[in-house]
């Protein structure tokens, strides 16, 4: 009897052993394959979230361009980007949340043998355009960045590529994308394409506009390349505000504007108007003043000083429409295109129209976008301090000043233009930890995680400092 029991028990044990155990390690709650469009949509939103946010942990450029000031916590306003590891958050978002998802998405599309070839081409081009957008953000933030060896799980130590080489490659990628987009076929579906609801024609305009922008950014460093790309793009760039690359946030959670989540849901009352912008708007009697900001408790428009503790009630705050739950975010817009064209005329590029016409178009579109009227526009353009012929300074100062005003709530774009045009002159924050930041330092953890390549890149760009100028920043 005893022997029999032992026999059966050991038989039971054998039955419990499986030859192949690996199925126990298979994730059953998460998909191993998804449609490419879901990743494309996610990457679009991730990029827009990053450029919209005002979190002191990720996006603090509103202080850098002196549009906003802070009530209590001044570290980031004083150009301290490292305590809260802002470069790391910025870079991680671009690489992991945006570009990686786009890369995986294009891999899925390439492997899809059933997809119509023209649709496939359109979708791949759209993905590439967003990749160019995100890479341009990285390269124009840091300088040299990992590019040719990036996004490879097998290479944990990607080298940094030369910034100018990357910028030129991004422009040539846009050339290719523009020529491969065909309006006769569909791209991503209406619901997958969060920017243009499936309109391939709009994507062509977006790609041209992005190429115009990226070309103008390098104009001081490579005039010939910039001229060629600007001239190729200017006719097909955004022709009106209806073409804007605008992302619509939704009124309901969890797709509300990050500013709403921060200021309203999170109850943060930290953000105030900054003195530089409020003073400028007041001096020019700018109709956008009341659209951008509220009044203080005494009913006046007053900007706080960047870098010092400001009493919240004494200063203007961002207007409610800026941080409404469904406030849209602009990635790139018609206003910018007109400013770029004004600049292109001044640089002697073959672009239709005069600098003054484009300058007026840009200001008009900006005032209307923010809720002003045609009468506001007419009065404003009649102001001798605004009118292109009579406004003070060089074309860089005229365009720079108005662009700085128009790029309100576009902190990253505003910072890039400020670095490039060098106007207006921003009042340095009180207690500034450095000179004006011409770039962000590399993510702090690159020194630990990719040390040799980091060291080489830091040396190549002339030192890993916020004051090091990027290759296109010649003045």
């Amino acid at each position: 009897m005893k022997k029999l029991i032992i026999f059966f028990i050991s038989l039971l044990c054998l039955g419990a052993c499986k030859k192949d155990l690996s199925s126990l390690n298979t994730e059953t709650k998460k998909p191993a394959a998804v449609p490419a469009g879901t990743l494309f949509s996610y990457a679009t939103k991730a990029y827009v979230d990053a450029i919209t946010s005002a979190s002191v942990n990720t996006n603090v450029f509103r202080f850098t361009v002196s549009h906003w000031s802070m009530v209590t916590y001044q570290d980031e306003a004083q150009y301290d980007f490292t305590t809260r590891a802002i470069p790391q958050a910025w870079s991680t978002t671009m690489y992991t949340r945006v570009i990686k998802n786009l890369q995986v998405s294009s891999g899925i599309i390439n492997a899809d043998v059933l997809l119509n070839a023209d649709v496939k081409t359109n979708q791949l081009a759209m993905i590439d355009i967003l990749q160019v957008l995100a890479y341009s953000t990285l390269v124009n933030t840091f300088g040299n960045v990992p590019y040719s060896q990036a996004l490879d799980q097998a290479n944990l130590f990607p080298v940094y590529d030369d910034a100018k080489t990357i910028s030129l490659d991004l422009i040539s990628r846009l050339n290719k994308d523009i020529s491969s987009l065909k309006t006769a076929s569909a791209g991503f579906s209406v619901s997958e394409d969060l920017l243009y609801k499936g309109s391939v024609a709009k994507w062509i305009k977006f790609a041209n506009s992005l190429r115009l922008q990226q070309a103008m950014i390098i104009a001081d460093a490579d005039n010939a390349a910039a001229k060629t790309a600007v001239e190729a793009s200017s006719a097909d760039a955004f022709a009106s505000a209806a073409d804007n690359a605008s992302f619509a946030y939704l009124a309901g959670a969890p797709n509300q504007n990050p500013l709403f989540v921060d200021i309203v849901t999170g109850g943060r009352g930290d953000y105030l108007a900054a003195k530089d912008l409020v003073d400028k708007l007041k001096t020019l009697s700018d109709p956008r003043l009341s659209q951008y900001f509220t009044t203080n408790v005494s009913g006046d428009y007053v900007g706080g000083i960047v870098g010092v503790v400001n009493t919240a009630s004494a200063f203007s705050k961002p207007a409610a429409k800026v941080y409404a739950a469904d406030a849209p975010t602009l990635i790139l817009d018609y206003v910018e295109m007109e400013f770029y064209k004004a600049e292109a005329v001044e640089r002697g590029y073959a672009v239709s129209g005069t600098a003054a016409e484009h300058y007026n178009n840009a200001i008009t579109a900006s005032i209307l976008y923010w809720g002003g009227t045609q009468a506001d526009v007419a009065a404003y353009l009649a102001n001798p301090s605004v009118a292109y012929a009579t406004a003070s300074g060089t074309w860089k100062e005229k365009i720079g000043t108005q662009k700085w005003i128009a790029l309100y709530n576009r902190p990253y774009a505003g910072w890039t233009e400020l670095r490039r045009l060098d106007f207006p002159k921003i009042t340095a924050p009180v207690g500034a930890k450095s000179g004006f930041p011409n770039r962000l330092t590399y993510p702090g953890n690159e020194q630990q995680l990719n040390g040799d390549n980091y060291t080489a890149a830091a040396a190549a760009i002339g030192g890993d400092l916020v004051t090091t100028k990027l290759f296109w920043d010649k003045f």
Binding site: V34, L39, T83, N101, A150, P254, V430, Q448, L449
Partner: protein
């Protein structure tokens, strides 16, 4: 003499099928040599030598071999998915730890004095860690077989019973341990593995050819003579590199002394714990210094004026002259404001020696004499004990906090943030036995 060995084979479902099986071996032996010697040396009470060798394997955490997608909240009716930020790895191998240990235990003079000494080495290989990686890889972490680390150390304990009479006895126990670790090899030719990162840009790392657990961050800029450089603004120059080693989380050695005295029905025992060396980095000190909430941020300067007074050019000036030299090597004489808006000190300024000497525990016991117990029927013993733990930090080098407090109890040691005070426990204990 004893000798034993074991063998075991495991197959784990969390590893890739081709690497799923791994073996354990061990062999251990000991020799009670005093048996042979006790006749010749009557002062030798016991003596034993032991040695063992073992290899141990370990598998991967569940679900770390295949990448899957993460569901994101819907945008309207649009479905969103994202690729994971931790890269799983289909080529993981099992972890192996190989350890060797030799030990000697001896006791003398009828067990009045003795010691136990151990020397060990342990090599851990192919440790499976989701290491932090450059985000340019498209991931923030990646599962890898992270490397090889060696630990070598000594453990010593000594006991003595110096006094033993019918009324009074004194026992003393001493222990001392020292461990040295070294990172021998890291994944994919890496030179540094970041174990953890903290606010203010502090990281704890396993750096190739260094002991495990280096604390890295920004530090002062020094000249050739090792003097701190002061910039033209009168403040310290700070490195832009964050890879400067500010210290190591591990102590040089740890020790403990336990004394117990017994006199008739009273007994008294106390334990003193000692830690020598190692570093603790304090985020509390970092913030408290620059926000000015610590007592050491006020006081008088070299002119006898409060440091928080405005800096002026005459002898009524507040502010401080930071100790250091300017670029030309001359001693700094520039008086500067120190407040929340002035440049912060480099992280290196907040790395402290984590040594301490502590009265960890004390007990005082009164045992009821037999004469009283005799009247209490079945009760065989009553002991009343007053005890206390964490009674006194006799010595430490970290201001305002206990150097033993840590943000984390896992791998990421050596950093304090919002350190709680250590709790002191004092209690009364009655033990009645039947």
């Amino acid at each position: 003499m004893t000798l034993e060995g074991t063998f075991r084979r495991d197959k784990s479902s969390t590893l890739p099928a081709e690497n799923a099986a791994y073996n354990y071996y061990s062999i251990a032996g000991s020799w009670l040599f005093s048996k042979q010697l006790e006749k010749q040396f009557d002062w030798l009470s016991s003596g034993k030598i032991r040695a063992n060798y073992a290899t141990v394997g370990n598998d991967a955490p569940w679900g770390s071999t295949m990448n899957t997608y993460t569901t994101q909240p819907l945008y309207g009716s649009t479905i969103l998915f994202s690729y994971p930020v931790t890269a799983n790895n289909p080529t993981l191998k099992p972890e192996r730890t190989t350890s060797t240990e030799v030990g000697l235990e001896m006791a003398f003079l009828r067990n009045r004095v003795g010691f136990d000494a151990t020397y060990y080495t342990a090599d851990s290989k192919n440790q499976i860690i989701a290491v932090s990686v450059s985000s340019a890889t498209g991931f923030t972490n990646a599962y890898v077989n992270a490397g090889t680390m060696r630990n070598r150390g000594v453990e010593l304990s000594l006991f003595a019973n110096p006094v033993k009479t019918s009324d009074f006895s004194w026992n003393i126990n001493l222990n001392w341990t020292k461990n040295k670790s070294k990172v021998l090899e890291l994944y994919n030719g890496s030179k540094n593995l970041q174990i953890a990162s903290f606010q203010a840009g502090i990281t704890v790392n396993a750096t190739l050819d260094q002991p495990y657990g280096t604390i890295q961050g920004k530090t002062y800029v020094y000249n050739d003579k090792g003097e701190k450089l002061i910039g033209s603004d009168g403040y310290y120059q700070i490195t832009s590199t964050t890879t400067n080693v500010l210290g190591n989380i591990n102590p040089e050695w740890m020790g403990g002394i336990h004394n117990s005295f017994k006199y008739k029905n009273l007994s008294l025992g106390f334990l003193i714990d000692i830690r020598k060396g190692g570093t603790v980095w304090s985020l509390d000190q970092f913030y408290a210094t620059y926000t000015g909430i610590l007592p050491n941020t006020v006081g008088l300067n070299d002119l006898g004026n409060p440091v928080r007074n405005p800096v002026t050019s005459d002898n009524t000036s507040g502010g401080v002259i930071l100790e250091g030299v300017t670029a030309d090597g001359s001693v700094n004489t520039k008086r500067v404001v120190i407040d929340a808006n002035s440049p912060t000190l480099p992280q290196a300024a907040f790395a402290y020696d984590a040594s301490y000497v502590k009265l960890r525990e004390a007990t005082f016991t009164y045992s009821f004499p037999k004469s009283i117990l005799a009247n209490l029927g079945p009760v065989k013993g009553i002991d009343i004990t007053v005890f206390g733990r964490n009674l006194w930090i006799i010595h430490k080098n970290l201001p305002y906090a206990d150097p033993e407090e840590n943000l984390s109890s896992g791998n990421a040691q050596g950093v304090q943030s919002g350190a709680y005070p250590t709790t002191r426990t004092v209690g009364l204990n009655a033990k009645i036995s039947f």
